[in-house]
């Protein structure tokens, strides 16, 4: 009812998502082009390099956007063929891009501990980690594939990787790579204005080439250990053994290691145009992702043009395939496997249910976990969880709430005190997970129900769309309180989730009306409140929810009916999204082509493989904040403009619980 003016929604968030006008054009999606001398990811780097090498990250909000905004318009001083980035600038950029997660992680000195950065990589992309490698920084040097990549960006990130490590690693450096790296880092520590001499530049290029050659040598990355060791802060000795351990392990683990492949350019890109998701129109990456995938997916033949960046697979084939593989995949924990299959089959749906199932599977994993010899629980478990997560993503893309939960779990693992014994550590992790489920989901729901029920008055007509478990609880609770109201359930094909809700509500004696979304404008005028669930709420107040929600909210707004979004605070996300195109999930196209139970409606039956037919079954949509009157969360009832406040104020608590 109370539309909130658009202009007020200027939350202070880090710059995420889209291109700002004064930035250079975004990097081409494919990294395979010829080494472009103007490679965009680097072009905004030079300004920050007056900062000291081991920079303490400035406060979170300032760091990414201010630094970049300030820098981007500056001219780029050097233009050599291999336009080597000025190191300092890069470093700043990296620090910046690490920043949000660092500050979320709390106290840990940002650049020194490998474990924390392992976490980092995941955290920042938690919503789709699978398409991103485990950010095992150790593997960078080894994992560059020979060709196809934009060399400059790889190099630059490689150098900065090393520089970042420098303070820690200097004593352990060995071998040629190490020496070269050192010269390089010397050159890099120069202030911005002082031009690097030709010799130095030469040396740097040489080193980079050497590193690349080493990487090219073996795809598996095994012999590249020397450079790899140099690039980590871990003792050189430990690195190889760990690597060897990882190798024999079956595909997924190895795959997750190899995911380091496209990390550096990715990291570069992130500061400018951070598409945290796998872009499925990027052929190279799709190929790579396929190689490491556990689930064999065949791509749909007629992919919808506008949504090529989202995974579009043929349905139906994966489930039996995976089931048959059940006993072959030893690295996968059965509990995780089960949950993954359930996701794939659609047996578990709904944000909370999926999240709880996943967390409980991880609990099983942790219970059964024992640290392999010569490994630390913190790191190995993080990597393991990471590989499980990527398996789950292959089964079905994660929701943002699950991303937040994974972020929480990894943070707990990373923050385990070293003094704990293994059993104690496992114990504490399990209880943490339990606490997360209880406090952030179960209790939060109770609080939301209390709050929302206070907005139900006698004589109200409440409309809900689809089936949201929180909304169901609210309706039942209000009914228990003896309030007199009527419910309108609006539903839509193909999922028809509302029918299940309708059944449950009618069984409890509520007075219901059931209709399809086609009739929403007809039914809306008698409605007095609209209660909607959400998959997640983004920082600009946008509500990301089941497709159709936006339509219902807009109609309600047009009829001046207040729209209440009920959503637990752990589903809040600092990302900003303006439309539902750039990140979404595609469902089974057959589901919309076929009308179940109607044999006479079969017009598109034989058209599935026609070239000029593209079936689009979107799963989610984004509702802009002006159509939302209120968000009911466990922190109370807030206007949608206050989402960033909750995200900011409780992110820390959220991570620490």
């Amino acid at each position: 009812m109370e539309a909130r003016r658009g202009w007020r929604a200027v939350p202070k968030v880090r710059q995420v998502g889209f291109f700002t006008p004064n930035e250079p054009p975004p990097p081409a999606r494919t990294q395979s082009g010829p080494p472009d001398s103007n490679s965009p990811p680097l072009s905004n780097s030079p300004a920050g390099n007056s900062l000291s090498p081991v920079m303490i990250p400035p406060p979170r909000h300032l760091s990414d956007n201010l630094a970049h905004r300030a820098t981007s318009p500056l001219p780029v001083p050097e233009t050599s063929a291999f336009r080597r980035p000025i190191p300092g600038g890069d470093r700043v950029a990296v620090v910046g891009s690490y920043n949000p997660t660092d500050s979320m992680l709390g106290a840990s000195p940002p650049l020194t501990s490998p474990s924390s950065r392992i976490g980092d990589g995941e955290f920042s992309e938690e919503s789709s980690p699978g398409w991103f490698r485990r950010s095992n920084s150790a593997k960078f040097a080894s994992s560059f594939p020979g060709g196809g990549f934009d060399l400059t960006s790889i190099k630059s990130s490689e150098t900065l990787e090393v520089e970042v490590k420098k303070p820690v690693e200097v004593p352990e450096k060995s071998g040629v790579a190490g020496a070269e790296l050192q010269t390089e880092s010397q050159s890099s520590s120069k202030p911005l204005k002082a031009k690097t001499t030709k010799a130095e530049r030469r040396a740097l290029q040489e080193s980079q080439r050497a590193a690349k050659a080493a990487a090219k040598g073996e795809a598996t990355g095994k012999p590249a250990i020397s450079s790899e060791g140099a690039a980590t802060s871990k003792p050189v000795k430990q690195q190889p053994s760990r690597k060897k351990d990882a190798l024999p392990a079956a595909t997924s683990v190895a795959a997750s290691d190899r995911k380091g492949v496209d990390r550096p350019p990715e990291k570069e890109r992130k500061k400018e145009v951070p598409p945290p998701r796998m872009q499925f129109d990027d052929k190279n990456r799709v190929e790579k992702a396929k190689k490491r995938a556990v689930v064999n997916q065949t791509e749909a033949r007629n992919r919808v043009e506008l949504f090529r960046h989202l995974p579009q697979y043929e349905r139906g084939s994966q489930l039996p395939d995976l089931e048959s593989k059940f006993f072959l995949l030893d690295p996968m924990h059965p509990a995780v496997y089960k949950v993954g299959l359930q996701y794939l089959a659609g047996d578990i749906s709904g944000g909370n249910a999926r999240c709880i199932a996943m967390l409980q599977a991880f609990q099983e994993v942790i219970k059964d976990y024992s640290t392999p010899p010569e490994k630390s629980l913190t790191r190995d478990l993080t990597a393991k969880v990471g590989s499980y997560v990527s398996f789950l993503i292959e089964c079905r893309p994660l929701s943002m709430s699950m991303g937040n939960a994974i972020r929480f779990l990894k943070n707990r693992i990373a923050k385990l005190p070293l003094s704990l014994s293994e059993s104690e550590a496992k114990e504490s992790l399990c209880s943490d997970i339990n606490r997360f489920i209880n406090e952030k989901i179960v209790l939060a729901d109770k609080v939301i129900v209390r709050h929302a029920a206070s907005k139900v008055r006698d004589g109200d007509v409440l409309l809900t769309y689809g089936s949201s478990c929180v909304v169901e609880m609210i309706l039942l609770y209000a009914h228990e309180l003896g309030k007199q109201f009527r419910v309108v359930i609006v539903d839509s094909r193909p999922k028809l989730e509302g029918q299940a809700l309708l059944r449950r509500l009618v069984a409890k004696g509520l007075n219901c009306t059931y209709t399809h979304i086609n009739a929403v404008s007809y039914i809306m005028h008698e409605v007095t409140r609209v209660f909607l669930g959400a998959s997640s709420v983004l920082s600009n107040g946008t509500v990301y929810s089941r497709v159709g929600t936006a339509c219902v909210a807009m109609v309600a707004h047009a009829f001046r009916v207040p729209v209440l979004i009920c959503c637990e605070a752990y589903k809040f996300h600092e990302r900003v999204q303006l439309d539902s195109i750039c990140s979404n999930e595609l469902g089974d196209p057959d589901a919309i082509a076929k009308a179940s139970g109607r044999m006479d409606v079969n017009y598109v039956d034989n058209l599935a493989n026609k070239e000029n037919l593209q079936l689009l079954n979107l799963m989610y949509d984004a509702t802009p904040l002006e159509y939302i009157s209120m968000i009911v969360t466990d922190y109370g009832m807030i206007p949608p403009t206050s989402v960033p406040v909750i995200v900011r104020e409780y992110r820390r608590e959220h991570l620490w619980i």
């Binding site: 907005k455 109370g636 807030i638 206050s642």
Partner: protein
């Protein structure tokens, strides 16, 4: 209303068969949610808050008094019946009584009165530990709040003070007596804080009042008066349109005050707002409460004025102290505890005629331009941010 849907017919049938819900908004309606509280001082749901306001700022005519008496059944001054004494620590002492004493001082803001009343609770308390004291205070503030659910600043004041008591960690390390005296001191200071807040708001708003501007004000608000007074003292040239502010005619009082300051004033009847809006450069209103959405709850008519101003692209400024921020989130006009007051129409109204007696309305945030508070000049969306930081 024009009903198109068949489901409405269903609805209607149901209502016909079942007992119709009595219209709660008529004067004769039974008491609402407050019925179950211990003491229910206003059997007719007459808002004590608005009664006090009327008593302090209103220009009351004699026939109004007569009608009010008829409606309430007694003289408005003793709307507050003798309370069943709230036993605090076994000693006869009533917060509500205390509160009413303070409230009857016209210059004291409602929240200040509430906090002074709570200070009196502390003074009279025989608690020996901080926890005991806290529980006592909690009880007292709950009874205060339930005594007058319509007063937002009373609720907000109680909440603020309780929050100070429970959250101030310094209190835990001191011995009990010094903590107690610190609390009392804090409560005593609150009046000063409230006055200071008004000064700050007046200073902040000076930048927005320019020479030659016409300001429309609605009702009587101490903060708005302070703002205008300061502007006049700063030798700004402006004129003021005062609405009449029916039914208690608080606008007349404001125009009197402004005339004393030699500010050119024009009185409008409440329905002449749209007529004169094109001459107006800005609308200035106070607030009884600022709610979490960033909207305000204020004297009846504010919403209307804000709508007119919005449609004519005139800025609407709200002056409100930060202790009026309340953790409320009304979704629409009816989504608040009803605050009713008797209305004088000059002639007797037949009993069949319903009278809308609500004393306040809710102005949604999209019709407000800026809020002047002692926290600074805020856009409506910041209110929620401040509230989250304050109360969570």
């Amino acid at each position: 209303m024009w009903w198109r849907s068949a489901s409405f017919i269903l609805d209607k049938q149901q209502n016909d068969t079942a007992q119709t819900i009595p219209d709660t908004l008529t004067l004769s309606s039974p008491p609402l949610s407050m019925a179950d509280t211990l003491q229910n001082p206003n059997p007719n749901n007459i808002s004590a808050y608005y009664q006090t306001r009327a008593a302090h700022h209103g220009v009351v005519t004699s026939d109004w008094l007569a009608q009010a008496q008829a409606a309430v059944g007694r003289h408005p001054d003793d709307v507050l019946p003798p309370e069943p004494e709230v036993k605090v620590a076994g000693k006869p002492f009533s917060v509500i009584h205390e509160f009413n004493n303070w409230r009857n001082q016209p210059d004291l803001a409602e929240a200040v009165a509430a906090i002074r009343a709570l200070a009196a609770v502390i003074r009279n308390s025989e608690a020996t530990t901080m926890m005991e004291l806290e529980i006592e205070l909690k009880k007292a503030s709950d009874s205060l709040k339930s005594w007058d659910t319509t007063s937002i600043s009373l609720t907000a004041g109680c909440d603020l003070f309780m929050r100070y008591v429970t959250r101030t960690s310094a209190l835990e390390y001191e011995d009990f007596n010094s903590a107690k005296s610190r609390l009392i001191e804090r409560a005593e200071k609150f009046g000063e804080i409230s006055y200071k807040a008004r000064r700050i708001i007046a200073m902040l708003s000076q930048d927005f009042i320019f020479d030659g501007c016409t300001i429309l004000v609605h009702g009587f608000s101490r903060v708005v008066l302070e703002v205008l007074k300061t502007a006049a003292q700063n030798k700004k040239l402006f004129r003021v349109f005062c609405t009449e502010g029916r039914p208690d005619r608080t606008g007349l009082r404001l125009s009197n005050e402004l005339a004393k300051l030699d500010v050119p004033v024009k009185l409008l009847i409440d329905s002449a707002v749209a007529y004169s809006m094109d001459e107006v450069d800005m609308v200035f209103v106070g607030a009884d409460g600022v709610v979490e959405s960033g909207g305000i709850i204020n004297m009846m008519g504010t919403y209307q004025i804000a709508l007119v101003a919005h449609s004519m692209d005139k800025p609407v400024y709200v002056a409100a102290e930060s202790y009026k921020f309340a953790r409320l989130y009304p979704l629409d006009q009816k989504d608040m505890a009803p605050a009713l007051r008797p209305i004088d129409f000059g002639v007797p109204i037949p009993s069949k005629v319903e009278v809308e007696t609500s004393a306040r309305d809710y102005t949604p945030p999209q019709y407000l331009t800026l809020l002047f508070t002692d926290l600074g000049v805020l856009t409506p969306s910041v209110v929620s941010d401040e509230l989250i930081q304050l109360y969570l």
